[in-house]
Protein backbone atom coordinates (compact mmCIF):
# COMPACT_ATOMS: atom_id res chain seq x y z
CA UNK A 1 0.00 0.00 0.00
CA UNK A 2 1.27 3.42 -0.87
CA UNK A 3 -0.22 6.34 1.02
CA UNK A 4 2.07 8.95 -0.55
CA UNK A 5 0.95 11.52 -3.11
CA UNK A 6 2.91 11.68 -6.33
CA UNK A 7 4.78 14.94 -7.04
CA UNK A 8 2.15 15.87 -9.61
CA UNK A 9 -0.70 15.22 -7.20
CA UNK A 10 1.00 17.25 -4.50
CA UNK A 11 1.63 20.12 -6.89
CA UNK A 12 -2.03 20.12 -7.95
CA UNK A 13 -3.35 19.86 -4.39
CA UNK A 14 -1.03 22.65 -3.20
CA UNK A 15 -2.37 24.85 -5.99
CA UNK A 16 -5.95 24.08 -4.92
CA UNK A 17 -5.12 24.91 -1.31
CA UNK A 18 -3.54 28.22 -2.32
CA UNK A 19 -6.40 29.13 -4.63
CA UNK A 20 -9.02 28.31 -2.02
CA UNK A 21 -7.32 30.18 0.82
CA UNK A 22 -6.71 33.26 -1.35
CA UNK A 23 -9.89 33.38 -3.39
CA UNK A 24 -12.59 31.52 -1.46
CA UNK A 25 -11.88 32.45 2.14
CA UNK A 26 -14.62 35.08 2.21
CA UNK A 27 -17.14 36.02 4.86
CA UNK A 28 -20.28 33.91 4.66
CA UNK A 29 -22.45 35.21 7.52
CA UNK A 30 -24.45 37.74 5.46
CA UNK A 31 -24.81 35.52 2.41
CA UNK A 32 -26.08 32.75 4.68
CA UNK A 33 -28.59 35.05 6.35
CA UNK A 34 -29.86 36.43 3.04
CA UNK A 35 -29.57 33.17 1.07
CA UNK A 36 -27.19 34.59 -1.54
CA UNK A 37 -25.47 32.37 -4.09
CA UNK A 38 -21.93 33.58 -4.84
CA UNK A 39 -21.80 33.69 -8.65
CA UNK A 40 -18.36 35.25 -8.65
CA UNK A 41 -16.88 32.45 -6.54
CA UNK A 42 -18.56 29.91 -8.84
CA UNK A 43 -16.90 31.47 -11.88
CA UNK A 44 -13.54 31.65 -10.11
CA UNK A 45 -13.78 27.93 -9.32
CA UNK A 46 -14.60 27.26 -12.98
CA UNK A 47 -11.69 29.33 -14.27
CA UNK A 48 -9.41 27.66 -11.79
CA UNK A 49 -10.51 24.19 -12.93
CA UNK A 50 -12.60 22.77 -10.08
CA UNK A 51 -15.79 21.94 -11.96
CA UNK A 52 -13.78 20.36 -14.77
CA UNK A 53 -11.57 18.16 -12.57
CA UNK A 54 -13.10 14.86 -13.73
CA UNK A 55 -14.07 15.97 -17.23
CA UNK A 56 -11.88 14.41 -19.94
CA UNK A 57 -9.37 16.82 -21.48
CA UNK A 58 -11.04 16.47 -24.91
CA UNK A 59 -14.07 18.29 -23.50
CA UNK A 60 -12.31 21.11 -21.69
CA UNK A 61 -11.60 19.39 -18.38
CA UNK A 62 -8.53 18.17 -16.60
CA UNK A 63 -9.21 14.44 -16.61
CA UNK A 64 -7.96 13.90 -13.05
CA UNK A 65 -8.54 10.60 -11.28
CA UNK A 66 -11.19 10.24 -8.52
CA UNK A 67 -8.63 10.17 -5.69
CA UNK A 68 -6.99 13.43 -6.74
CA UNK A 69 -10.44 14.91 -7.30
CA UNK A 70 -11.77 14.16 -3.82
CA UNK A 71 -8.51 15.34 -2.24
CA UNK A 72 -8.86 18.61 -4.16
CA UNK A 73 -12.47 18.99 -2.96
CA UNK A 74 -11.31 18.28 0.59
CA UNK A 75 -8.88 21.19 0.34
CA UNK A 76 -11.68 23.43 -0.90
CA UNK A 77 -13.77 22.44 2.12
CA UNK A 78 -10.88 23.26 4.42
CA UNK A 79 -10.33 26.79 3.14
CA UNK A 80 -13.80 27.79 1.94
CA UNK A 81 -16.43 28.29 4.63
CA UNK A 82 -19.23 28.56 2.06
CA UNK A 83 -20.59 25.01 2.34
CA UNK A 84 -23.53 26.04 0.17
CA UNK A 85 -21.30 26.97 -2.75
CA UNK A 86 -19.45 23.67 -2.40
CA UNK A 87 -22.75 21.80 -2.27
CA UNK A 88 -23.85 23.51 -5.49
CA UNK A 89 -20.55 22.58 -7.14
CA UNK A 90 -20.97 18.99 -5.98
CA UNK A 91 -24.52 18.74 -7.29
CA UNK A 92 -23.28 20.14 -10.60
CA UNK A 93 -20.40 17.66 -10.82
CA UNK A 94 -22.19 14.48 -9.80
CA UNK A 95 -25.65 14.99 -11.24
CA UNK A 96 -24.98 16.96 -14.42
CA UNK A 97 -21.35 16.36 -15.44
CA UNK A 98 -21.04 12.66 -14.54
CA UNK A 99 -24.15 11.54 -16.52
CA UNK A 100 -22.95 13.56 -19.50
CA UNK A 101 -19.44 12.09 -19.31
CA UNK A 102 -20.79 8.52 -19.17
CA UNK A 103 -23.97 8.69 -21.21
CA UNK A 104 -23.75 11.83 -23.31
CA UNK A 105 -23.58 11.58 -27.09
CA UNK A 106 -20.53 13.11 -28.74
CA UNK A 107 -22.63 16.12 -29.74
CA UNK A 108 -24.04 16.56 -26.22
CA UNK A 109 -20.59 16.35 -24.64
CA UNK A 110 -19.15 18.86 -27.11
CA UNK A 111 -22.06 21.22 -26.56
CA UNK A 112 -22.24 21.22 -22.77
CA UNK A 113 -19.09 19.87 -21.08
CA UNK A 114 -16.70 22.75 -21.87
CA UNK A 115 -19.12 25.31 -20.41
CA UNK A 116 -19.97 23.10 -17.42
CA UNK A 117 -16.21 22.71 -16.81
CA UNK A 118 -15.13 26.35 -16.99
CA UNK A 119 -17.91 27.78 -14.86
CA UNK A 120 -19.93 29.52 -17.59
CA UNK A 121 -22.77 26.97 -17.28
CA UNK A 122 -24.44 25.80 -14.08
CA UNK A 123 -25.99 22.34 -14.00
CA UNK A 124 -28.11 20.24 -11.69
CA UNK A 125 -30.67 17.51 -11.79
CA UNK A 126 -34.38 17.18 -11.19
CA UNK A 127 -35.35 13.81 -9.77
CA UNK A 128 -37.27 14.09 -6.48
CA UNK A 129 -40.98 14.80 -6.71
CA UNK A 130 -43.42 15.83 -4.00
CA UNK A 131 -44.48 12.19 -3.62
CA UNK A 132 -41.32 10.35 -4.62
CA UNK A 133 -38.21 10.95 -2.59
CA UNK A 134 -36.46 7.89 -1.22
CA UNK A 135 -38.73 5.83 -3.50
CA UNK A 136 -37.22 7.70 -6.43
CA UNK A 137 -38.24 5.35 -9.21
CA UNK A 138 -41.93 5.81 -8.47
CA UNK A 139 -41.73 9.22 -10.15
CA UNK A 140 -44.74 10.42 -12.14
CA UNK A 141 -43.32 13.08 -14.46
CA UNK A 142 -44.02 11.89 -17.98
CA UNK A 143 -42.20 12.29 -21.28
CA UNK A 144 -44.36 11.53 -24.29
CA UNK A 145 -42.71 11.33 -27.68
CA UNK A 146 -44.32 13.41 -30.43
CA UNK A 147 -42.43 13.23 -33.71
CA UNK A 148 -38.91 14.43 -33.05
CA UNK A 149 -39.81 15.96 -29.67
CA UNK A 150 -40.53 14.80 -26.15
CA UNK A 151 -43.29 16.55 -24.20
CA UNK A 152 -42.62 16.63 -20.45
CA UNK A 153 -45.32 17.04 -17.78
CA UNK A 154 -44.93 16.93 -14.02
CA UNK A 155 -43.29 18.71 -11.12
CA UNK A 156 -39.97 18.31 -9.35
CA UNK A 157 -38.92 19.41 -5.89
CA UNK A 158 -35.61 20.05 -4.08
CA UNK A 159 -33.85 20.95 -7.32
CA UNK A 160 -30.40 22.09 -6.21
CA UNK A 161 -29.16 25.00 -8.36
CA UNK A 162 -32.69 25.19 -9.83
CA UNK A 163 -32.93 29.01 -9.62
CA UNK A 164 -29.54 29.53 -11.30
CA UNK A 165 -29.15 26.44 -13.51
CA UNK A 166 -28.55 26.70 -17.24
CA UNK A 167 -29.00 22.98 -17.72
CA UNK A 168 -30.94 20.35 -15.79
CA UNK A 169 -30.85 16.60 -16.13
CA UNK A 170 -34.57 15.83 -15.76
CA UNK A 171 -35.89 12.34 -15.07
CA UNK A 172 -39.28 11.35 -16.46
CA UNK A 173 -40.99 8.15 -17.49
CA UNK A 174 -41.82 7.37 -21.09
CA UNK A 175 -44.18 4.61 -19.94
CA UNK A 176 -45.43 4.32 -16.37
CA UNK A 177 -46.34 0.65 -16.83
CA UNK A 178 -42.66 -0.21 -17.37
CA UNK A 179 -41.73 0.94 -13.82
CA UNK A 180 -38.02 1.76 -13.45
CA UNK A 181 -37.44 0.57 -17.04
CA UNK A 182 -39.51 3.47 -18.31
CA UNK A 183 -37.44 6.15 -16.61
CA UNK A 184 -35.42 8.29 -19.00
CA UNK A 185 -33.12 11.28 -18.59
CA UNK A 186 -33.39 14.51 -20.57
CA UNK A 187 -31.13 17.52 -20.90
CA UNK A 188 -33.40 20.52 -20.42
CA UNK A 189 -32.00 23.99 -20.95
CA UNK A 190 -32.98 27.08 -19.02
CA UNK A 191 -35.97 28.90 -20.54
CA UNK A 192 -37.18 25.84 -22.43
CA UNK A 193 -40.82 26.40 -23.43
CA UNK A 194 -43.08 24.90 -20.77
CA UNK A 195 -40.47 24.75 -18.01
CA UNK A 196 -41.05 26.99 -15.01
CA UNK A 197 -38.71 27.41 -12.07
CA UNK A 198 -40.67 28.12 -8.90
CA UNK A 199 -39.70 30.39 -6.04
CA UNK A 200 -36.45 29.73 -4.21
CA UNK A 201 -36.99 27.36 -1.27
CA UNK A 202 -35.98 28.59 2.18
CA UNK A 203 -33.80 26.09 4.05
CA UNK A 204 -32.31 25.43 7.48
CA UNK A 205 -28.74 25.28 6.17
CA UNK A 206 -26.79 25.37 2.91
CA UNK A 207 -28.64 28.63 2.46
CA UNK A 208 -26.13 29.94 -0.08
CA UNK A 209 -26.98 27.06 -2.40
CA UNK A 210 -30.20 27.96 -4.21
CA UNK A 211 -32.94 25.36 -4.48
CA UNK A 212 -36.33 25.45 -6.14
CA UNK A 213 -39.30 23.52 -7.38
CA UNK A 214 -39.43 23.08 -11.14
CA UNK A 215 -42.65 22.59 -13.10
CA UNK A 216 -43.05 21.09 -16.55
CA UNK A 217 -46.20 21.90 -18.45
CA UNK A 218 -46.05 20.52 -21.98
CA UNK A 219 -42.35 21.27 -21.88
CA UNK A 220 -40.94 20.76 -25.34
CA UNK A 221 -37.58 18.95 -25.48
CA UNK A 222 -35.93 17.99 -28.80
CA UNK A 223 -35.17 14.27 -29.10
CA UNK A 224 -31.43 14.92 -29.38
CA UNK A 225 -31.61 16.00 -25.73
CA UNK A 226 -32.50 12.50 -24.55
CA UNK A 227 -29.51 11.57 -22.37
CA UNK A 228 -28.59 7.93 -22.85
CA UNK A 229 -31.24 5.52 -24.00
CA UNK A 230 -35.00 5.63 -23.52
CA UNK A 231 -35.55 3.67 -20.33
CA UNK A 232 -31.91 4.03 -19.32
CA UNK A 233 -32.61 6.74 -16.75
CA UNK A 234 -32.73 4.54 -13.66
CA UNK A 235 -29.32 3.07 -14.34
CA UNK A 236 -27.91 6.48 -15.19
CA UNK A 237 -29.36 7.92 -11.98
CA UNK A 238 -27.93 5.09 -9.87
CA UNK A 239 -24.46 5.63 -11.32
CA UNK A 240 -24.75 9.36 -10.69
CA UNK A 241 -25.85 8.72 -7.09
CA UNK A 242 -22.99 6.28 -6.48
CA UNK A 243 -20.49 8.93 -7.54
CA UNK A 244 -22.29 11.52 -5.49
CA UNK A 245 -22.44 9.38 -2.34
CA UNK A 246 -18.76 8.61 -2.56
CA UNK A 247 -17.53 12.10 -3.32
CA UNK A 248 -20.01 14.69 -2.09
CA UNK A 249 -18.66 14.76 1.46
CA UNK A 250 -15.02 15.22 0.45
CA UNK A 251 -15.37 18.90 1.27
CA UNK A 252 -16.96 17.92 4.59
CA UNK A 253 -13.70 16.20 5.54
CA UNK A 254 -11.91 19.51 4.95
CA UNK A 255 -14.60 21.32 6.90
CA UNK A 256 -14.18 18.90 9.83
CA UNK A 257 -10.41 19.44 9.77
CA UNK A 258 -11.00 23.22 9.94
CA UNK A 259 -13.48 22.77 12.82
CA UNK A 260 -10.98 20.58 14.65
CA UNK A 261 -8.26 23.23 14.33
CA UNK A 262 -10.69 25.97 15.39
CA UNK A 263 -11.63 23.96 18.48
CA UNK A 264 -8.00 23.23 19.41
CA UNK A 265 -7.20 26.92 19.15
CA UNK A 266 -10.23 27.89 21.22
CA UNK A 267 -9.61 25.19 23.85
CA UNK A 268 -6.06 26.47 24.29
CA UNK A 269 -7.03 30.14 24.44
CA UNK A 270 -10.20 30.02 26.53
CA UNK A 271 -9.41 29.99 30.26
CA UNK A 272 -11.88 28.90 32.93
CA UNK A 273 -11.09 27.96 36.52
CA UNK A 274 -7.52 29.17 36.06
CA UNK A 275 -6.57 26.95 33.13
CA UNK A 276 -7.19 26.41 29.43
CA UNK A 277 -10.42 24.53 28.92
CA UNK A 278 -8.45 22.05 26.78
CA UNK A 279 -6.83 20.86 30.00
CA UNK A 280 -10.21 19.58 31.19
CA UNK A 281 -10.46 15.97 30.12
CA UNK A 282 -14.12 16.26 29.15
CA UNK A 283 -13.19 18.92 26.59
CA UNK A 284 -10.00 17.17 25.45
CA UNK A 285 -11.93 13.95 24.95
CA UNK A 286 -14.37 15.68 22.59
CA UNK A 287 -11.46 16.98 20.55
CA UNK A 288 -9.94 13.50 20.40
CA UNK A 289 -13.28 12.20 19.10
CA UNK A 290 -13.26 14.92 16.45
CA UNK A 291 -9.76 13.95 15.38
CA UNK A 292 -10.76 10.28 15.08
CA UNK A 293 -13.80 11.24 13.00
CA UNK A 294 -11.72 13.35 10.61
CA UNK A 295 -9.15 10.60 10.15
CA UNK A 296 -11.62 7.74 9.72
CA UNK A 297 -13.67 9.84 7.30
CA UNK A 298 -10.62 10.74 5.25
CA UNK A 299 -9.52 7.11 5.07
CA UNK A 300 -12.94 5.93 3.91
CA UNK A 301 -13.11 8.74 1.37
CA UNK A 302 -9.68 8.03 -0.09
CA UNK A 303 -10.26 4.29 -0.13
CA UNK A 304 -13.57 4.71 -1.95
CA UNK A 305 -11.93 7.06 -4.46
CA UNK A 306 -8.96 4.77 -4.97
CA UNK A 307 -11.29 1.83 -5.69
CA UNK A 308 -13.35 3.98 -8.03
CA UNK A 309 -10.21 5.08 -9.88
CA UNK A 310 -9.22 1.43 -10.29
CA UNK A 311 -12.65 0.67 -11.74
CA UNK A 312 -13.72 -1.58 -8.89
CA UNK A 313 -17.33 -1.93 -7.79
CA UNK A 314 -18.00 0.80 -5.22
CA UNK A 315 -21.77 0.64 -4.66
CA UNK A 316 -21.29 -0.57 -1.08
CA UNK A 317 -18.26 1.64 -0.35
CA UNK A 318 -20.01 4.77 -1.62
CA UNK A 319 -22.96 4.16 0.71
CA UNK A 320 -20.69 3.47 3.68
CA UNK A 321 -18.56 6.55 2.96
CA UNK A 322 -21.61 8.78 2.74
CA UNK A 323 -23.21 7.35 5.88
CA UNK A 324 -20.04 7.52 7.94
CA UNK A 325 -18.88 11.00 6.94
CA UNK A 326 -22.33 12.56 7.33
CA UNK A 327 -22.60 11.11 10.85
CA UNK A 328 -19.10 12.30 11.70
CA UNK A 329 -19.70 15.79 10.30
CA UNK A 330 -22.87 16.37 12.30
CA UNK A 331 -21.26 15.04 15.49
CA UNK A 332 -18.15 17.17 14.95
CA UNK A 333 -20.35 20.25 14.57
CA UNK A 334 -22.26 19.43 17.77
CA UNK A 335 -19.00 18.94 19.65
CA UNK A 336 -17.58 22.15 18.22
CA UNK A 337 -20.60 24.09 19.49
CA UNK A 338 -20.36 22.41 22.90
CA UNK A 339 -16.66 23.24 23.19
CA UNK A 340 -17.39 26.87 22.34
CA UNK A 341 -20.18 26.98 24.94
CA UNK A 342 -22.62 29.87 24.57
CA UNK A 343 -20.38 31.49 21.98
CA UNK A 344 -20.78 28.44 19.76
CA UNK A 345 -24.51 29.18 19.56
CA UNK A 346 -23.82 32.70 18.32
CA UNK A 347 -23.84 33.32 14.57
CA UNK A 348 -20.67 35.41 14.80
CA UNK A 349 -18.57 32.39 15.81
CA UNK A 350 -19.57 30.53 12.62
CA UNK A 351 -19.89 27.14 14.28
CA UNK A 352 -23.69 26.99 14.44
CA UNK A 353 -23.86 27.53 10.68
CA UNK A 354 -21.64 24.50 10.14
CA UNK A 355 -24.13 22.37 12.05
CA UNK A 356 -27.06 23.71 10.02
CA UNK A 357 -25.10 22.99 6.84
CA UNK A 358 -23.96 19.55 7.99
CA UNK A 359 -27.38 18.18 8.92
CA UNK A 360 -28.46 18.14 5.27
CA UNK A 361 -25.77 15.55 4.58
CA UNK A 362 -27.96 12.97 6.34
CA UNK A 363 -30.74 13.70 3.85
CA UNK A 364 -29.37 14.38 0.37
CA UNK A 365 -28.16 11.70 -2.08
CA UNK A 366 -30.24 9.23 -0.11
CA UNK A 367 -31.04 9.59 3.58
CA UNK A 368 -28.88 7.82 6.16
CA UNK A 369 -31.65 5.21 6.38
CA UNK A 370 -31.41 4.56 2.64
CA UNK A 371 -27.62 4.20 2.92
CA UNK A 372 -28.16 1.65 5.69
CA UNK A 373 -30.66 -0.23 3.48
CA UNK A 374 -28.09 -0.36 0.69
CA UNK A 375 -25.35 -1.56 3.03
CA UNK A 376 -27.65 -4.17 4.58
CA UNK A 377 -28.69 -5.48 1.17
CA UNK A 378 -25.05 -5.68 0.07
CA UNK A 379 -24.36 -7.73 3.21
CA UNK A 380 -26.97 -10.24 2.14
CA UNK A 381 -29.75 -9.09 4.44
Amino acid sequence: MDFAWSDQQRELLDAVGRFASQQLHYDVIENDRDGVFNHEAWKKCGDFGIQGLLVPTDYGGLGTDPLTTVAALERLGYACKDNGLLFSINAHMWTAIIPLVYNGSEAQKKKYLPGLSNGTLIGGNAMSEPNSGSDAFSLTTTAIKKGSRYILNGSKIFVTNGPVADLLVVFATVDKTRGPDGISAFLVEKNSPGMNVGRKLEKMGLRTSPMAEVFFENCDVPEENLLGKEGGGAFLFTRSMTWERGCILASAVGSMQRLLETCIRYANERKQGGQSIGKYQLVASKIVDMKLRVESSRHMLYHYAWLSGHRKAVYLEAAMTKLHISDCWVKCCEDAIQIHGGYGYMTEYEVERELRDAIASKLYSGTSEIQRNIIASMLGL
Partner: protein
Protein backbone atom coordinates in the same frame (compact mmCIF):
# COMPACT_ATOMS: atom_id res chain seq x y z
CA UNK B 1 9.33 41.11 -29.46
CA UNK B 2 10.36 39.41 -26.29
CA UNK B 3 9.87 40.41 -22.64
CA UNK B 4 12.35 39.10 -20.11
CA UNK B 5 11.17 38.69 -16.52
CA UNK B 6 13.82 37.85 -13.94
CA UNK B 7 12.33 36.50 -10.72
CA UNK B 8 13.56 35.28 -7.38
CA UNK B 9 12.39 32.41 -5.18
CA UNK B 10 11.82 33.57 -1.59
CA UNK B 11 10.48 32.04 1.63
CA UNK B 12 6.69 32.37 1.65
CA UNK B 13 6.01 35.68 3.43
CA UNK B 14 2.46 34.52 4.26
CA UNK B 15 3.57 31.35 5.93
CA UNK B 16 3.36 32.82 9.43
CA UNK B 17 -0.41 33.16 8.97
CA UNK B 18 -0.86 29.39 8.70
CA UNK B 19 -2.31 28.73 12.13
CA UNK B 20 -3.75 25.78 13.90
CA UNK B 21 -2.55 22.30 14.62
CA UNK B 22 -1.25 21.39 11.18
CA UNK B 23 2.51 21.32 10.97
CA UNK B 24 3.59 23.62 8.18
CA UNK B 25 6.83 23.10 6.32
CA UNK B 26 8.68 26.18 5.07
CA UNK B 27 7.58 26.87 1.53
CA UNK B 28 9.10 28.98 -1.17
CA UNK B 29 7.17 31.22 -3.53
CA UNK B 30 7.94 33.63 -6.35
CA UNK B 31 8.93 36.98 -4.83
CA UNK B 32 5.58 38.87 -4.78
CA UNK B 33 6.95 41.92 -6.66
CA UNK B 34 8.35 39.61 -9.33
CA UNK B 35 4.96 37.93 -9.57
CA UNK B 36 3.53 41.36 -10.39
CA UNK B 37 6.22 41.75 -13.06
CA UNK B 38 5.27 38.34 -14.52
CA UNK B 39 1.61 39.34 -14.57
CA UNK B 40 2.46 42.58 -16.40
CA UNK B 41 4.51 40.70 -18.98
CA UNK B 42 1.60 38.31 -19.56
CA UNK B 43 -0.86 41.18 -19.95
CA UNK B 44 1.43 42.94 -22.42
CA UNK B 45 1.71 39.76 -24.45
CA UNK B 46 -2.04 39.16 -24.27
CA UNK B 47 -2.59 42.68 -25.61
CA UNK B 48 -0.43 41.69 -28.56
CA UNK B 49 2.40 44.06 -27.63
CA UNK B 50 4.88 41.19 -27.26
CA UNK B 51 5.24 37.78 -28.83
CA UNK B 52 6.99 35.93 -26.04
CA UNK B 53 7.53 36.17 -22.30
CA UNK B 54 10.67 34.56 -20.93
CA UNK B 55 11.21 34.00 -17.23
CA UNK B 56 14.66 33.62 -15.71
CA UNK B 57 15.77 32.76 -12.20
CA UNK B 58 18.97 31.73 -10.49
CA UNK B 59 19.15 28.79 -8.10
CA UNK B 60 19.44 25.04 -7.52
CA UNK B 61 16.91 22.52 -8.95
CA UNK B 62 14.64 23.17 -5.95
CA UNK B 63 13.54 26.49 -7.49
CA UNK B 64 12.03 24.57 -10.41
CA UNK B 65 8.82 24.58 -8.36
CA UNK B 66 8.62 28.37 -8.60
CA UNK B 67 9.62 28.17 -12.27
CA UNK B 68 6.71 25.83 -12.90
CA UNK B 69 4.46 28.27 -11.07
CA UNK B 70 5.61 31.02 -13.46
CA UNK B 71 5.05 28.73 -16.44
CA UNK B 72 1.62 27.84 -15.06
CA UNK B 73 0.74 31.53 -14.85
CA UNK B 74 1.47 31.65 -18.57
CA UNK B 75 5.16 32.46 -19.08
CA UNK B 76 6.14 30.89 -22.42
CA UNK B 77 9.66 29.83 -21.71
CA UNK B 78 11.84 29.60 -18.60
CA UNK B 79 15.54 29.59 -17.92
CA UNK B 80 17.23 28.54 -14.70
CA UNK B 81 20.80 29.60 -14.10
CA UNK B 82 22.08 26.70 -12.05
CA UNK B 83 23.91 28.30 -9.14
CA UNK B 84 23.25 27.53 -5.50
CA UNK B 85 25.63 30.12 -4.01
CA UNK B 86 24.38 32.99 -1.91
CA UNK B 87 24.76 35.75 -4.48
CA UNK B 88 24.65 39.47 -3.77
CA UNK B 89 22.80 41.99 -5.96
CA UNK B 90 25.84 42.86 -8.07
CA UNK B 91 26.52 39.20 -8.87
CA UNK B 92 22.85 38.69 -9.75
CA UNK B 93 22.85 41.79 -11.96
CA UNK B 94 25.93 40.59 -13.84
CA UNK B 95 24.43 37.15 -14.47
CA UNK B 96 21.17 38.73 -15.62
CA UNK B 97 23.17 41.08 -17.83
CA UNK B 98 24.58 38.06 -19.64
CA UNK B 99 21.08 36.58 -19.98
CA UNK B 100 19.76 39.86 -21.42
CA UNK B 101 22.52 39.87 -24.05
CA UNK B 102 21.66 36.28 -24.98
CA UNK B 103 17.88 36.75 -25.10
CA UNK B 104 17.81 40.29 -26.54
CA UNK B 105 14.43 41.36 -25.08
CA UNK B 106 12.90 44.75 -25.92
CA UNK B 107 12.05 45.27 -22.27
CA UNK B 108 12.99 43.70 -18.94
CA UNK B 109 10.33 43.83 -16.21
CA UNK B 110 11.17 42.72 -12.69
CA UNK B 111 10.10 43.32 -9.10
CA UNK B 112 11.41 46.49 -7.48
CA UNK B 113 12.97 44.36 -4.73
CA UNK B 114 12.85 40.90 -3.19
CA UNK B 115 10.89 40.60 0.03
CA UNK B 116 13.57 38.52 1.75
CA UNK B 117 16.62 40.84 1.69
CA UNK B 118 14.87 44.03 0.52
CA UNK B 119 18.04 45.11 -1.31
CA UNK B 120 16.30 46.97 -4.13
CA UNK B 121 19.44 47.08 -6.24
CA UNK B 122 19.39 44.46 -8.99
CA UNK B 123 17.18 46.37 -11.44
CA UNK B 124 19.22 49.54 -11.11
CA UNK B 125 22.56 47.71 -11.36
CA UNK B 126 21.37 45.74 -14.37
CA UNK B 127 20.43 48.98 -16.15
CA UNK B 128 23.81 50.42 -15.25
CA UNK B 129 25.74 47.40 -16.51
CA UNK B 130 23.81 47.33 -19.80
CA UNK B 131 23.79 51.09 -20.24
CA UNK B 132 19.99 50.95 -20.59
CA UNK B 133 17.44 53.44 -19.26
CA UNK B 134 15.53 52.46 -16.14
CA UNK B 135 12.13 53.21 -14.63
CA UNK B 136 11.80 51.97 -11.07
CA UNK B 137 8.81 51.60 -8.66
CA UNK B 138 6.44 51.58 -11.62
CA UNK B 139 2.67 51.40 -11.18
CA UNK B 140 1.67 51.86 -14.84
CA UNK B 141 3.33 51.08 -18.17
CA UNK B 142 2.25 52.32 -21.62
CA UNK B 143 4.14 51.68 -24.81
CA UNK B 144 4.55 54.57 -27.25
CA UNK B 145 5.74 55.18 -30.78
CA UNK B 146 5.59 51.61 -32.04
CA UNK B 147 7.18 50.29 -28.87
CA UNK B 148 10.32 52.38 -29.14
CA UNK B 149 9.52 54.20 -25.93
CA UNK B 150 7.57 53.51 -22.74
CA UNK B 151 5.71 55.94 -20.52
CA UNK B 152 5.99 54.76 -16.94
CA UNK B 153 4.23 56.08 -13.85
CA UNK B 154 6.49 55.85 -10.81
CA UNK B 155 5.36 55.84 -7.21
CA UNK B 156 7.56 58.21 -5.24
CA UNK B 157 7.27 59.76 -1.80
CA UNK B 158 6.35 63.06 -3.47
CA UNK B 159 3.56 61.53 -5.56
CA UNK B 160 3.18 59.95 -8.97
CA UNK B 161 6.00 60.76 -11.35
CA UNK B 162 5.61 60.07 -15.06
CA UNK B 163 8.75 59.35 -17.04
CA UNK B 164 9.38 58.27 -20.61
CA UNK B 165 12.20 55.88 -21.36
CA UNK B 166 13.64 54.70 -24.64
CA UNK B 167 13.44 50.96 -25.17
CA UNK B 168 15.04 48.59 -24.47
CA UNK B 169 14.85 49.49 -20.80
CA UNK B 170 14.66 48.01 -17.33
CA UNK B 171 11.33 48.52 -15.57
CA UNK B 172 10.85 47.53 -11.93
CA UNK B 173 7.35 46.82 -10.64
CA UNK B 174 5.70 48.34 -7.60
CA UNK B 175 2.78 46.87 -5.68
CA UNK B 176 -0.01 48.69 -7.52
CA UNK B 177 1.05 47.83 -11.06
CA UNK B 178 -1.51 45.01 -11.15
CA UNK B 179 -2.98 42.14 -9.19
CA UNK B 180 -1.37 38.87 -10.31
CA UNK B 181 -3.63 36.06 -11.50
CA UNK B 182 -3.66 32.81 -9.58
CA UNK B 183 -2.29 29.65 -11.10
CA UNK B 184 -5.17 27.64 -12.57
CA UNK B 185 -5.17 23.86 -12.78
CA UNK B 186 -5.28 23.85 -16.61
CA UNK B 187 -2.29 26.22 -16.53
CA UNK B 188 -0.49 23.94 -14.12
CA UNK B 189 -1.01 20.91 -16.34
CA UNK B 190 0.06 22.82 -19.46
CA UNK B 191 3.18 23.96 -17.61
CA UNK B 192 4.27 20.35 -17.14
CA UNK B 193 4.86 20.14 -20.88
CA UNK B 194 6.91 23.36 -21.08
CA UNK B 195 10.65 22.68 -20.81
CA UNK B 196 12.94 24.51 -18.37
CA UNK B 197 16.24 25.51 -19.95
CA UNK B 198 19.17 25.10 -17.54
CA UNK B 199 22.31 27.18 -18.03
CA UNK B 200 25.46 27.77 -15.96
CA UNK B 201 27.49 30.91 -15.43
CA UNK B 202 30.25 29.23 -17.45
CA UNK B 203 27.93 28.78 -20.41
CA UNK B 204 26.96 32.43 -20.13
CA UNK B 205 30.62 33.42 -19.94
CA UNK B 206 30.36 35.30 -16.64
CA UNK B 207 32.49 34.77 -13.58
CA UNK B 208 30.89 36.16 -10.46
CA UNK B 209 31.89 36.12 -6.87
CA UNK B 210 29.88 37.82 -4.16
CA UNK B 211 31.35 41.11 -2.98
CA UNK B 212 29.32 41.05 0.21
CA UNK B 213 28.86 38.26 2.71
CA UNK B 214 25.94 37.82 5.10
CA UNK B 215 27.46 37.31 8.54
CA UNK B 216 24.36 36.53 10.53
CA UNK B 217 20.58 36.78 10.47
CA UNK B 218 18.65 37.33 13.70
CA UNK B 219 14.99 37.76 14.49
CA UNK B 220 14.01 41.16 15.82
CA UNK B 221 13.53 41.09 19.61
CA UNK B 222 10.02 40.17 20.71
CA UNK B 223 7.84 43.12 21.61
CA UNK B 224 7.09 43.16 25.32
CA UNK B 225 3.44 43.13 26.40
CA UNK B 226 1.85 46.55 27.02
CA UNK B 227 0.68 47.82 30.38
CA UNK B 228 -2.51 49.63 31.35
CA UNK B 229 -2.32 53.06 32.89
CA UNK B 230 -4.94 54.52 35.20
CA UNK B 231 -4.76 58.15 34.18
CA UNK B 232 -3.40 60.62 31.66
CA UNK B 233 -1.00 61.90 34.33
CA UNK B 234 0.44 58.42 34.82
CA UNK B 235 0.79 58.00 31.05
CA UNK B 236 2.72 61.25 30.74
CA UNK B 237 4.97 60.33 33.67
CA UNK B 238 5.72 56.96 32.11
CA UNK B 239 6.37 58.49 28.70
CA UNK B 240 8.82 60.90 30.32
CA UNK B 241 10.55 58.60 32.76
CA UNK B 242 10.34 55.11 31.28
CA UNK B 243 9.93 55.53 27.55
CA UNK B 244 11.86 58.82 27.60
CA UNK B 245 10.02 60.05 24.51
CA UNK B 246 8.78 63.31 26.04
Amino acid sequence: MKILVPFKSVADPNNAIVAGAAVSTPKSVINPFDEIAIEEALRIRERGQATESVGVTIGPPAVDEQIRAALAMGVDHAIRIDDSRALDPYAVARILGAVVKREAPYVVIMGKQAVDDDSNQVGQMLAGLLGWPQATFVSKIEFLDNKTRARCTRETDAGLEVVEVNLPAIITADLRLNEPRYVSLPGLIKARRKPIEVLTCDQLGVTVRPLTTVLSIARPPKRAAGTRVESVEELITKLKQEAKVL
